[in-house]
Symmetry: C2
Subunit: 198 residues, 2 copies
DNA sequence: GTCTATATTAGGATAGAC
DNA sequence: GTCTATCCTAATATAGAC
């Protein structure tokens, strides 16, 4: 039973697991407000009243910490195969959209690092390319399933629609992050209703 | 005749203007590949075989240089009032989209800094909030104009459509930056055709 | 306008004690 | 696992000569 990627190769003690979770949470906050390059390990340690050394003990390098943060972020996301099986993808997407309002820091972090990582030499480039491919693939699959059940116009190209949903999601989210006082849910709902019409 | 914002209060010599243009260009490249925080003034100076001191002579602080870069970037963009007056906004938008393929570094820079600047305490926060408000406003206006000429369904909400176009544009551009081998123009064209149908 | 040299601060990372 | 102390590098910025 290997846990991979996590920097602890052997047994996990309760305290360690909790500390790592705390560190990931604090790192998310710091990276989200200043970006990956702009956020420092010292800031993260200070947020926890922890020494820098102790932090580094858990995550030996900064990039390892970032990867842990990103993976944790995606472990909470749920656009997985089977997404929206019950009430259709449209309802499931809107529900997921609304749940995202609870974690603005996380959204900001993903937006910043995704843009940073679009440069081919960024340490997280491959991770984000794969992440988007996976998201588009999962969405296409769900759209096809809804089409086979007559919920969506069969003439709609699933892959293209999946790209557009992902894109519009990202773009509206950016606008919302810039100005949270404007609720863009109805815009997104109208967009989905038009794109995924029967 | 005051030139505002530009750090030279008095007369502009040809050499100075050219140097500043060169610096802005190099800064665009560097910020685009490593972000605002991640890109250093040293990198920018090195790119021009210029000393750090000379660079700072032209732009005394890093943030002033960023603002100059952003303003230069937007001086090239053209979603201004009157945009697409002749052949309608849909054609003009697609044309602008295609022209953007020529400046991937600029697009990456804007994507990174826009996300970074979504945090309220970022030095460029206000600038980006205003930039998006302006873009949405200009787009709404153009949509209304096209509606009055019967080119777009009058039931379409101009402001909502403007937000969606901006959002989808940003999102598709991010996907393209991550993986430039996939051409997303047809996706964008289909989206526009559906949203701005008569 | 450009340079060399330097001040100052902050970054990631390590050594070694407890 | 956590700490203090430290190393080394690189960051922005300034001083002063040419």
């Amino acid at each position: 039973m290997s846990t991979s990627t996590v920097p602890r190769p052997r047994r996990q003690y309760a305290k360690t697991a909790q500390r790592q979770a705390e560190i990931i949470e604090a790192a998310t906050t710091v990276f989200a407000s200043r970006g990956y390059h702009g956020g420092s390990l010292r800031d993260i340690a200070r947020e926890l009243d922890l020494s820098l050394t102790s932090l580094v003990h858990h995550f030996p390098t900064k990039i390892e910490l970032l990867v842990a943060v990103l993976q944790h972020a995606d472990s909470q996301a749920t656009w997985l195969p089977g997404f929206g099986d019950e009430h259709g993808i449209q309802a499931a997407t809107l529900k997921l959209w609304e749940s995202n309002y609870e974690h603005p820091e996380l959204l900001r972090l993903l937006a910043i690092v995704a843009a940073e990582a679009s440069a081919p030499d960024h340490p997280a480039h491959a991770w984000f390319v794969h992440r988007y491919e996976q998201a588009v693939e999962a969405y296409s699959e769900s759209i096809r399933r809804d089409q086979s059940r007559g919920r969506i116009n069969p003439a709609t190209d699933p892959t293209s629609a999946a790209r557009l949903i992902t894109a519009t999601w990202d773009g509206l989210q950016l606008q919302w992050l810039l100005n949270p006082s404007k609720d863009l849910t109805s815009d997104f709902r109208n967009f989905l209703g038009q794109l995924l019409a029967p």
